[in-house]
């Protein structure tokens, strides 16, 4: 058992706000340079770069977890971190079923492209990916847990798109695996993690969390968030 550094909130160029140099290969390169052991790719309401990133990560010795930053109908952003490829495929279908197909203008919001390992464009997404889904926060949480995923309200101390800004406070009966914060640790009983929310390569790893794990993996992370079997959160940097 030893400490591992993880940054579980990174946008690729598939997110309209993700810079065009956030290709899967570039993300892996920067993550390695920053000494991260584990990352999650979490684009807005889509998981379409996850499998490529997992493959590239494996080659470079970095564990990549499949994730999405999901926008609920209340416009609350949450990280949904998925256990495996099968769950990702099924969760991607759920995301597409609940998509509101908001109009997208790349000139205003930025490009939304899926690329392959040689950085050729495979698909361009023509609706605005970050738009609120037709699913409430309760429904997002239920869907996440149905897929065996971790449900983590994102940047809860930010003044926009956070559970706190949109809903005033965290509903007590919401089943939360951890909360992500940007600044000072709040006086809350949930496990607290910090991630970069990087949209440009230089921001990868600017915030991260160190976990005591046997090895970096989804299962080990889940244990650490629950402080089970000797796994736990050691600290998070801001």
């Amino acid at each position: 058992m030893k400490p591992f550094r993880a940054d579980l909130h990174i946008h690729s160029l598939l997110s309209p706000c993700g810079s065009l140099d956030m290709s899967p290969a570039a993300i892996i390169r920067h993550a390695a340079a920053r000494g991260l052991d584990m990352i999650a790719v979490s684009d807005h309401n889509t998981t379409l770069h996850c499998e490529l990133m997992v493959t590239l990560g494996r080659e470079a010795g970095i564990t990549v977890l499949r994730a999405a930053e999901v926008t609920s109908s209340e416009e609350v952003h949450s990280l949904v971190i998925l256990p495996d490829s099968e769950a990702r495929v099924s969760f991607q279908a759920w995301l597409e079923q609940h998509c509101s197909f908001a109009p997208h203008d790349p000139k205003i919001f930025g490009d939304q492209v899926v690329i392959d390992r040689d950085e050729n464009i495979i698909t361009e997404i023509n609706h605005f990916l970050p738009a609120a889904l037709n699913a409430t926060l309760d429904e997002v949480e239920a869907a996440a847990h149905r897929h065996g995923a971790l449900f983590i309200p994102a940047h809860i101390d930010r003044p926009s798109f956070s559970i706190t800004s949109q809903l005033g406070f965290i509903p007590e009966d919401l089943y939360i695996d951890a909360i992500e914060v940007v600044g000072a640790a709040p006086d809350l009983l949930y496990p607290i993690i910090r991630n970069s929310d990087a949209h440009i390569p230089e921001h990868i790893g600017r915030r991260y969390t160190t976990y005591m794990l046997d090895h970096p993996s989804f299962t080990e992370l889940s244990l650490a968030l629950r402080s089970e079997d000797g796994r736990h959160i050691i600290s998070s940097q801001r």
């Binding site: 409430t136 800004s165 949109q166 005033g168 406070f169």
Partner: protein, 112 residues
């Protein structure tokens, strides 16, 4: 002006919280950010919003608001209505959007 008066004059649907229909409305507040309402809405206000989450009721009761008006034809969930009944704060609805409803409510409150 009472909640019943605005229900009648603005043709609002009463979803729940019938017990509170006699509450007096002293103003209004339009916002969809619950953190904003928590900090700024005055007691006695009717709150105009498209948010339907159950936290709406906790904040309405925290700020001692007289009613919640849900716009755009959205409907509150069962948990929101249950809490509205418990708190006696009515949840009302309209097909109008927030701009239209707020304008009409403003004129109505100003008349009096």
């Amino acid at each position: 002006m009472k909640v019943t008066d605005i229900v009648e004059k603005l043709e609002l649907t009463v979803f729940s919280g019938h017990e509170g229909l006699g509450r007096v409305i002293t103003g209004g507040y339009s916002s969809d950010l619950l953190s904003d309402v928590m900090g700024h809405a005055a007691a006695g206000a009717a709150w105009v919003t498209i948010q339907t989450h159950r936290n709406v009721m906790a904040i309405a009761s925290l700020r001692d608001l007289s009613a919640v008006i849900i716009t755009g034809g959205e409907t509150p969930g069962d948990d929101t209505m249950a809490q509205s009944n418990e708190e006696g704060v009515p949840v009302l609805g309209t097909i109008l959007n927030t701009f239209e409803l707020s304008g009409r409510l403003y004129s109505l409150l100003k008349e009096k």
